[in-house]
Symmetry: C2
Subunit: 339 residues, 2 copies
């Protein structure tokens, strides 16, 4: 698999390519299915998950598929009342407020509580051709907490950070519980057929370098330790993590996902030759003229200077209104590039 | 003025201290005035502006006052229909969509169109004791554009960046017009009594290093050039700018404001000895126990290693729900610190 080879910094003839949120609303064939199916119902129906996971592979022939799901699906078996309200995104109807709320959270039994995720991974792995990788994923502890504590995500993590500073004991226990849950969930996904695992940390970059180091470095290392022997590469994507790049190699993920703000060449020098990188075109740039997109995509690849261990991707999830020709220009440019 | 001395990297006995949005809703005396006065009416009434600007000075004896205003007040004379809707924040009722919309924007005559800002600066300068500095401010071109283009600010700058990539010509002209307006507005504020000028760029850090360099480096340099002979220090605060720190010294501002994510010591090494820094406690940390705040505030100051050119501040604007004892612990710790 060209994708897995790049994750392990093995030489490939061109960069592999996929993009975050590639199974999603910018695709008309996805919107067709969503018309008839609520979001959480879709996540819980393995046949439909396989179908929407395969859609971008059929259309763009990407090198990896990412299982269609949501970082918040483990909330329901943990005891958090998750719903998706029209136009609102995810809402937690019983957000975490007190230490007792945190103590009441349970660690799911993945086979019985989230068996639909394992089924979807197995079915999708069967549907995918052998040279394509299947990516499983989770949300990082701090990002999960932003939803669990705020109830609905606002413009920033300010509310979450206020709670963190005002409730240090509850915060630490919540992070321990999420880390324990995530360790089991990552292992479960790899054992169910995922060829690679990605941790999404949309909000961890809003922490000071001090707080990230104090509260999250060891927890990420724990997640890497428990998944070390599964023989699948681990990708850590922390958005807005320019100030955290110094710490990242010590976490031990095979791949660091870069958001669009960070220069690839400089980031590689900071991360060292053993860490692969993934990214990082600004998703908004897919709204530009396709010829210009092709030019910027080539410049992105060239910033990597031909080093092994590079995966082409956007710097964040693709936006629901993205024009398809822009996406096609991006993928096509990568797939015809020769190192 | 201890504040101005620190801006110019002159030795001071302790760090000067103020905080962004220090005249604001976390103060009960401010909320009293706001009960009776709409937001824009308050901005346009010099007597009230002076009163609310002085409130945090009276309560906390900060070393600098920042004139109470809003980065968007120049929008009205430019032809953008600015309003503040209850619970919504600023709304532009005729957002920028086309090149023609940009061409129609006019550059204000500051004396006649924004004379209330000049009056407020003069009155506040008279009310302030001579050892306190008065700070004037503007918003940066990209941040202003986020409001002008999106109409109301969402969770991210994605919509603005999509417009930027899809409308390169209109974008460039809009940035030129904002830069021209800002040059005049900065000069006007210094000539009206401001002892220092701060540029707030809340959203510029959401640009890739490539786009920032291509579109904004020269424009910021222009703003520095036109204000170079006014004999007031210039402070550039770009939020989430960890990936942009390499470029910042070349802009030429006397002071770089650091948000809370960036380590002070490391940032100073990157910025060099001639650039003062300002910041950067996480505003959310003021929700913690006051003793713990004092400890973190001391750690923040110590991260500067006693170098001249350090101004204590929060890493972003203070939140409206911040407990007053937390604010007091922060200010008191700085004011009793000895280098």
């Amino acid at each position: 698999m060209i994708f897995v080879d790049a994750c392990y910094c093995r030489k490939t003839e061109r960069p592999p390519v996929w993009f975050m949120r590639q199974a999603g609303r910018y695709l008309p064939e996805f919107r067709e299915i969503r018309k008839k199916t609520e979001f959480l119902e879709l996540c819980r129906t393995p046949e439909l998950v396989t179908e929407v996971t395969m859609q971008p592979i059929r259309r763009f022939d990407c090198d990896a598929a990412i299982i269609f799901s949501d970082i918040l699906v483990p909330f329901t078996p943990m005891g958090l009342d998750l719903a998706y309200e029209k136009g609102e995104g995810p809402v937690i109807r019983n957000p975490i407020r007190t230490l007792a709320d945190v103590e009441a959270l349970r660690i799911p039994n993945f086979q019985t509580d989230l068996g639909y995720v394992g089924d979807a991974l197995r079915q999708t792995r069967n549907a995918l051709s052998p040279e394509k990788a299947l990516i499983g994923f989770v949300g990082a502890p701090f990002t999960l907490a932003c939803y669990a504590v705020s109830g609905r995500m606002g413009k920033s993590t300010e509310e979450m950070r206020q709670w963190m500073f005002a409730n240090p004991e509850a915060f630490q226990l919540l992070m321990d519980k999420f880390t324990e849950m995530l360790a089991g969930y990552l292992v479960y996904q790899a054992e169910s057929g995922a060829d690679a695992l990605q941790i999404f940390d949309t909000w961890g970059g809003s922490l000071s370098a001090y707080d990230f180091q104090a509260y999250f470095l060891e927890r990420f290392q724990t997640l890497m330790r428990v998944t070390a022997d599964l023989n699948v590469p681990r990708i850590l994507f922390i958005k807005s993590a320019a100030h955290l790049r110094y710490f990242l190699p010590s976490i031990g993920a095979e791949v660091i996902g870069l958001d669009w703000t960070m220069p690839i060449g400089h980031s590689r020098r900071m991360l060292g030759p053993k860490t692969a990188v993934q990214g990082n075109l600004d998703p908004a740039s897919l709204f530009a003229d396709p010829e210009w997109i092709a030019e910027r995509t080539r410049a992105m690849i060239e910033a990597n200077s031909g080093q092994p261990g590079y995966i082409a991707n956007l710097g964040h999830g693709i936006h629901k209104d993205t024009p398809i020709p822009g996406v096609a220009a991006f993928v096509e440019t990568v797939k015809t590039y020769q190192f």
